[in-house]
């Protein structure tokens, strides 16, 4: 859906992280985008290739993890991994489950290129 806008926001944030840490560039970005986040990982990758041009992330690679949907069942007390179009409880069949995973949209990890390692300096 709105993958390009999300990437432009991601680039803004990467710019801010580079400035904050006095780094030179971004080499790797790791994102979690669940199947129920409304974001399609493949489209996000394509959009990232466009959005990164001429930015601090111009040479960065994007790694997208898509955590499987998980539901918690109030009826039998279990938590299970399910599929995006069947969110009922696989243990007892309950329809009253709560989604506990699979709709994440998280920037999880960023690798920055730095002249000196701030952790040792």
């Amino acid at each position: 859906m709105h993958e390009l806008s999300l990437c432009q926001n991601l680039i803004d944030q990467l710019n801010a992280l580079v400035r904050q840490h006095g780094a030179l560039a971004v080499s790797r970005v790791e994102v979690q985008a669940g199947p129920l986040s409304g974001v399609e990982p493949q489209l996000l990758e394509t959009a990232f290739l466009m959005a990164r041009e001429g930015t601090v992330a111009a040479n960065a690679e994007l790694f997208i993890e898509s955590p499987a949907p998980r539901v918690a069942c109030p009826d039998c007390g279990t938590e299970s991994t399910v599929t995006a179009n069947n969110l009922t409880c696989p243990q007892c069949g309950s329809v009253d489950t709560t989604l506990t995973g699979g709709h994440e949209l998280i920037l999880a990890r960023v690798e920055l290129i730095s002249e000196q390692d701030p952790q040792t300096s």
Binding site: H2, N9, L107, R109, L112
Partner: protein, 286 residues
């Protein structure tokens, strides 16, 4: 389409794409980082919702594929209400005033949003439309979203209820194919049911089963805007929602769509892990 052409960039959110060097706050949670655009939308949606609450206008977001009968449903609804509820309509399409003209022909105020290339309405576009309507004279505001089973589900407009239409000329497995959209439905209407005798492959039971599998207990109602079958149930639901909204409003509360009320805060964490690599490091040589 949306990933490459930027069709999600609307007049309502275009300003967000311009760099705003002084607005960035370092230390945002990762969820807020990636949700930045949606957060800005959600903030405007909150303002819209407060404005609608001040005037007591129950607002219903109609979503579906193009051509599933949203405008026909609104026409039949307006005729059957016969002025019992004061109604207005915000229409969303890429082009033309056609749908708003159909509503105005019934003597009902309508504002057409033409999105150009954008495939959904957002809270900023709806804010502009609210400016054009006299909210003090309304009980119910319908927002007919752009026909699309994907993007509209992700944008809070400040409305109170999501109604998703599935016409019997489509597949009965649409909820399984578009789970994000149908999971958001507070009510699923099966439309064009007058055609069911000719479309024996469409099973209303299978459509409902697909919805239940999304852990949704939302009601499912068959309606035909053409024959009027099922319209009474739909209008009963609408009356119930108007009453419920008025009660909530009296106690100072407001109504939100079922799924959006879960909030996007589930994933707030402390920030991305930052790793440093030396100059000359290249992911390609790693």
């Amino acid at each position: 389409m949306c990933n490459t052409c930027g069709c999600n960039v609307t007049d309502g959110n275009r300003h967000l794409l311009a760099p705003a060097p002084n607005q960035r706050v370092l230390g945002n949670s990762p969820a807020r980082i990636l949700n930045g655009l949606l957060e800005h939308n959600d903030r405007q949606a909150g303002l819209n919702r407060a404005r609608l609450a001040a005037e007591g206008v129950l607002t219903i977001n109609l979503m579906s594929s193009p051509g599933s009968g949203k405008t026909a449903l609104l026409e039949a609804t307006i005729r059957q209400l016969g002025g019992r509820l004061r109604v207005a309509v915000i229409e969303g399409d890429l082009e033309t005033e056609n749908d708003a003209d159909r509503i105005r022909a019934l003597g009902i105020p309508a504002h057409q949003i033409t999105t150009g290339t954008a495939c959904h309405l957002d809270a900023h576009l709806v804010q502009g439309a609210l400016d054009r309507l006299d909210l003090s004279k309304l009980d119910v505001l319908f927002i007919e979203n752009v026909g699309n089973l994907v993007c509209p589900a992700s944008f809070d407009l400040g409305h109170h209820r999501n109604v998703t239409l599935l016409s019997v000329t489509e597949g009965d497995d649409k909820p399984a194919k578009y789970p994000v959209m149908f999971r958001a439905a507070d009510l699923m209407l099966l439309t064009k049911t007058d055609l069911l005798p000719y479309l024996t492959e469409f099973s209303p039971e299978r459509a409902e089963d697909c919805l239940r599998k999304l852990a949704s207990r939302s009601p499912v109602m068959p309606v035909s805007a053409k024959t009027g079958d099922g319209m009474a149930d739909w209008l009963d639901w609408l009356d119930g929602e108007v009453d419920h909204y008025r009660q909530l409003r009296q106690s100072g509360a407001t109504q939100r769509p079922r799924v959006q009320s879960e909030g996007r805060t589930l994933h707030a964490t402390t920030g991305p892990e930052i790793v440093f690599k030396p100059v000359g490091f290249s992911p390609l040589s790693a």
